[in-house]
């Protein structure tokens, strides 16, 4: 069997095991924690396309997350569309907003790009707060339950696993294609990428649009699980940060990094929350500082570098 073939078999087996987990774990609380793990894994993998492979540090992915949930709620609740249509609309909306944000923000490089993405997400945050007729303002908005009402936790868990698998599959395909190499070239040196004939702005836009579509699906799932959304929850800086941190903790620009990051961060934060109540945020913060200082390439990135060095010596 080829290396790719055996990797596919392993990936398939892990996917089946993850999908089968609710047969063993059937408590709502545990399933909801696992939902959060896979939700943020999927979001981290989606963010990684832009923030990791392309090297464009987005700190505004809450914009696409929130648009997914608000798009679903408004499309289904206010416009009375069927749920699949409303979901499709929410994704399309996030992709269009990604295009608009990218056209402006990708004119900027480095920290200025990151600041611009924060600003755009904050604009959406404030817009949602101040448009009560459309978004319900600070009071919030009801979101339809997109899964059967009996045992919905299972369905949400499965959906999050599928989202993560989808994001991983898309990333794996992209990194093997010319498009993926173009993303890396942009990260490493934009001038060299241009000299290689790569339309850098268009390439970055495509990456951001794919990332936004996946992020919107995650937002719609999250909103539907809670059945009710408010701007401070869906469009906050906290969401943007958590998505970016999950990916960077595990390893930006590595396929499995965000998955590892989500498992560690979400489970750790859940344990600390139970053990230390409000003090868990301190421990959470310290954990991030330790990783940034000692493992700047993230967990998977550091391991991969060590393996490369060892192979180089051998």
């Amino acid at each position: 069997m080829t290396v790719t073939g055996s990797r596919l078999v392993i990936a398939g087996a892990v996917l089946v095991a993850c999908l089968g987990a609710p047969l063993v774990i059937d408590q709502t609380y545990q399933l909801n924690v696992l939902f959060r793990v896979f939700l943020f894994a999927g979001l981290g993998v989606a963010w990684n396309l832009v923030g990791g492979y392309t090297g464009q540090l987005s700190l505004g992915h809450a914009a696409f997350f929130g648009l997914g949930a608000y798009g679903l709620a408004i499309g289904s609740g206010k416009l009375g569309l069927p749920i699949p249509v409303a979901l499709g609309l929410a994704i399309a909306l996030a992709v269009l907003v990604a295009l608009a944000i990218g056209l402006v923000a990708f004119r900027l490089r480095g920290p200025y790009f990151a600041l611009a993405t924060i600003a755009f997400a904050e604009v959406l945050h404030l817009t949602a707060k101040n448009l009560p007729d459309v978004t319900g303002g600070e009071v919030g908005l009801q979101v339809p339950l997109i899964f059967p009402p009996d045992a919905p936790s299972r369905w949400f868990y499965w959906a999050a696993v599928v989202l993560t698998a989808l994001a991983l599959a898309i990333t794996a395909l992209i990194t093997r294609a010319r498009f993926g190499y173009a993303l890396l070239a942009i990260r490493e040196d934009e001038d060299t990428a241009l000299a290689c004939g790569i339309a850098t702005t268009r390439t970055k836009l495509h990456a951001l649009m794919i990332s936004a579509a996946l992020t919107a699906i995650g937002g719609a799932l999250y909103g539907s699980l809670f059945l009710y959304i408010v701007p401070d929850q869906m469009l906050s800086v906290d969401i943007s940060n958590e998505i970016a941190i999950v990916a960077m903790l595990g390893g930006a620009g590595t396929l499995l990094g965000p998955l590892v990051g989500a498992v560690l961060l979400e489970i750790a934060s859940e344990l600390f929350k139970n053990l230390f109540q409000e003090a868990h945020l301190v421990i959470y913060g310290v954990l991030i500082v330790v990783v940034v200082l000692f493992l700047p390439e993230g967990i998977v990135g550091t391991i991969a570098s060590a393996l490369r060095r060892r192979r180089g010596r051998a």
């Binding site: 060299t192 000299a195 004939g197």
Partner: protein, 244 residues
């Protein structure tokens, strides 16, 4: 037949500095042209204008008769390949992947890009470093990598910005010998910026001389180096003694 590249009355100003001053010249198919001149004469600016990284304030640059807009990726697609004087490797990628990125301009398939990249690396005698990361390579290798990446885009015109400068003499001459073989790779014309006169004299068929942004001399290398204006501006009186 029209010239491959025609630079027509091009000027570029950076604040108070006129980096390129009403420069007009052509690069003909089949020739190797070198641009020489003192530091700050505007040589790299001229390359940045030709390859679309800068827009001229005045004048037009035509490639195969068509006026170029200042869009570097379009210039690359049309067939203008370039190297960077200050080398710009993709550090976290392997040498092979660096060259593949050039090759991807003409093919979608990864296997084709890899095959093309290996051919080019073979030509430049870089097979041994193909799988090493581009970070941590010596400057001589990085200069060759710049050429390899540009060559992999299958350019009609290749712009070589000081690819020889800074190399020990033996390596400089070995590289110069390879540059003379670029036409085997379908390159219709070579334009180089270079300080190493030994290499310029060996490789160039025609030379233009820039000083403070303006073109002050043009012609066969042996003739140009005898012109008083060139000796005054660039080569210095000592050089006059050398060539007698």
């Amino acid at each position: 037949m029209t010239a491959l590249l025609a630079v027509d009355g091009v000027s570029k100003r950076f604040g108070g500095l006129l980096a390129t001053s009403n420069v007009t010249f052509e690069v003909r198919r089949g020739e190797t042209l070198f641009i020489v001149g003192p530091n700050g004469a505007g040589k790299t600016t001229l390359f940045n204008l030709i390859s679309g990284f800068l827009a001229p304030d005045h004048g037009v640059i035509r490639f195969e008769g068509r006026a170029l807009a200042a869009r570097p990726h379009v210039a690359a697609r049309l067939g203008i390949g370039r190297t960077f004087q200050i080398v710009k490797p993709l550090k976290n990628l392997s040498v092979l992947e660096n060259v593949m990125l050039g090759a991807f301009l003409r093919t979608r398939r990864r296997a084709d890009a890899a095959a093309r990249a290996r051919e080019v690396l073979g030509f430049l005698q870089m097979e041994a470093v193909a799988d090493l990361p581009a970070s941590g390579l010596p400057l001589a290798t990085l200069k060759r990598l710049e050429i390899a990446r540009a060559l992999a885009t299958q350019p009609k015109l290749i712009l070589l910005d000081e690819v020889v400068a800074g190399l020990p003499t033996g390596e400089a001459l070995a590289l110069a010998a390879l540059l003379q073989r670029l036409p085997e790779w379908g390159v219709a014309a070579v334009a180089g910026v270079e300080h190493v006169m030994q290499v310029v004299m060996k490789v160039a068929e025609r030379v233009i001389v820039l000083d403070r942004g303006a073109l002050i001399a043009e012609g066969a290398p042996a003739d140009v180096v005898r012109q008083p204006a060139v000796i005054e501006a660039y080569l210095g009186a000592k050089y006059k003694d050398v060539i007698g």
